[in-house]
Symmetry: C2
Subunit: 326 residues, 2 copies
């Protein structure tokens, strides 16, 4: 197997280029060739390097920024997929800009209405895919149906789950609980060929709500950030309470291996990023505040997606699910 | 001060009447007189008791159930507020039915478009109020503005915060991040007389996002259940990891006081319930799966609301905020 070439937006992310480069260096080898997209200062690291002259900031308006800055690291990295000089792209930069650049430079798979951000969740009882986690702040019921199909193909092909169970994120398990969007989406999902098991609630996400949990991008983003923030706050709170007493500190030292195992599972850095599903090429969006570890894992996630041919399988299998493109 | 009379829906909740009665017994005294609403079997407990002949189940359609069962424990308990035989009502039953019965039997305060479920969150850096947590699955921007005003009055009067800071729950701190609803609500909030500090993200909720965090009922419910589920899953996961080794078990024993302190703060049972704001009388909605401890705390929360005259203050102060009823 030839190595996977991953275009890395070195200028994206809150922690600056050094952190991204360190992540790329950590991921290099083992069949992965990172290619840095960023300014001339990045030449010293011995990695492949494409010099770019513009940078899209985290707070720029996505569509305008992508139009105005074709030579930015983010847009140029996405363009490398369309041009065939890289197999996948990773950015911890402006998520909206990544979506806009993906649509412009990588383009949608035929029949795809909207790409969706799919986040793998390492839940207690097994892996789960939550989508959309933020590509579409407003979505229609038919979008949710298509997200569900993309998530199901993803779960089958990448997680190896035959006939994956799909659930709709709502505010009660009963079909009549929800808002206008989920009530209508529920009907579409129930009538579909999917293995639809009904609604689920956000409290189940970390236990394992289903193989695929489908929602609009606003709700998915709120749920995901609530999960991440709560894990962090609970573990920090525990540390603060433990270190209040000497006995607590001793106890804390004894349970450190246990907390480390738990953190490894629950920490978003462990998977590092999310797939942007529905494009003709593989794109991974990493957290804005990604550490080098998170960046390295996001690059590995991208390479795994290429090895499993995520885009090819979506492209081949979405049309057979004709209902997904109503 | 005369004791606060709290009507308790003894037939509501997943754990059955015995658990609710145990909670009422625990809360009785200290200026609180619980009045049980439920079937004849409840007479043996020495508490005041109003016999009711119907029960609304958790999965019944709210509006229909309330219309069809005027003699249910839930509806009768709400009616006692309108009739003046109780000062507040508490139910762990069907939330939608509680809302419908509240609108019918307690009625809206003048000028209130929609009541909202306000949940006190004991965040790391201080208390915070999140609303709406589920009364309105679909809401309009002007509803969110009014929720913000109700939340702000609540924070001023009950939490004692002068000029409470209000934030809008969204998927990014920048004003242009969000869905159609939050984009429009952001504008209304920014133009209002409120101390509006912009958007916040769900990851901040447990740290303390603001004195008042405003959102629609669907999003608020998803965020709240994500918080609660994650706290539970993390602490259970920690216990499972700790008990894998003998040293871990010893460590776990040493940190038990610390975990207990943390749980007390993060456990939803600690506050027990949520206020249904915007009605002419005080209503508290407890979790469906409330334990006796949670029920007792919900009854105490209701009594505190009566002592602070939450409804009277909302009624007196909402009109001065004329913009809240546009």
């Amino acid at each position: 197997m030839s190595p996977v070439r991953v275009a890395v937006d070195a200028m994206g992310g809150d922690r600056g280029p050094d952190e991204v480069v360190a992540g790329a260096l950590a991921a290099a080898g083992d069949g992965i060739v990172p290619i840095l997209y960023g300014d001339a200062s990045l030449a010293a690291h011995g990695l492949e390097h494409v010099v770019t002259t513009q940078v899209i900031a985290m707070d720029e308006k996505p569509a305008e920024a992508v139009r105005a800055k074709p030579e930015s690291s983010l847009v140029a990295a996405c363009r490398s997929i369309g041009a065939g000089t890289a197999d996948a792209v990773v950015s911890a930069g402006n998520t909206g800009a990544m979506l806009a650049a993906g649509l412009l430079e990588i383009r949608r798979l035929e029949g795809v209405m909207r790409p969706a951000i799919a986040v793998p969740i390492l839940a207690r009882d097994g892996p789960s895919v939550l989508l959309d986690c933020g590509a579409n702040a407003d979505a229609r019921p038919e979008h949710l149906l298509q997200f569900a199909h993309m998530g199901a193909i993803f779960a089958e092909e990448i997680l190896g789950v035959p006939s994956p169970e799909v659930r709709l994120l709502s505010i009660g398990e009963e079909p009549e609980k929800g808002n206008q969007l989920t009530l209508e989406a529920h009907k579409l999902l129930a009538e579909s060929t999917l293995n639809f098991a009904g609604n689920t609630e956000s409290r189940n996400l970390l236990v394992k709500a289903a193989d695929v949990v489908v929602t609009d991008g606003f709700t998915g983003n709120v749920a995901l950030k609530a999960l991440e923030g709560t894990v962090l706050t609970v573990l920090q709170g525990l540390r603060a309470e433990i270190t209040k007493t000497a006995l607590g500190k001793l106890g804390g030292a004894l349970i450190r291996p246990a907390t480390r195992r738990l953190l490894t599972r629950l920490d978003p850095e462990t998977y590092g990023g999310a797939y942007l599903l529905g494009l003709r090429g593989l794109a991974v969006i990493a957290h804005g505040n990604s550490s080098r570890t998170a960046i390295a894992n996001a690059i590995r996630l991208a390479a795994r997606g290429v090895e499993h041919d995520v885009c090819g399988r979506l492209s081949a299998r979405l049309p057979e699910r004709a209902e997904s493109a109503v």
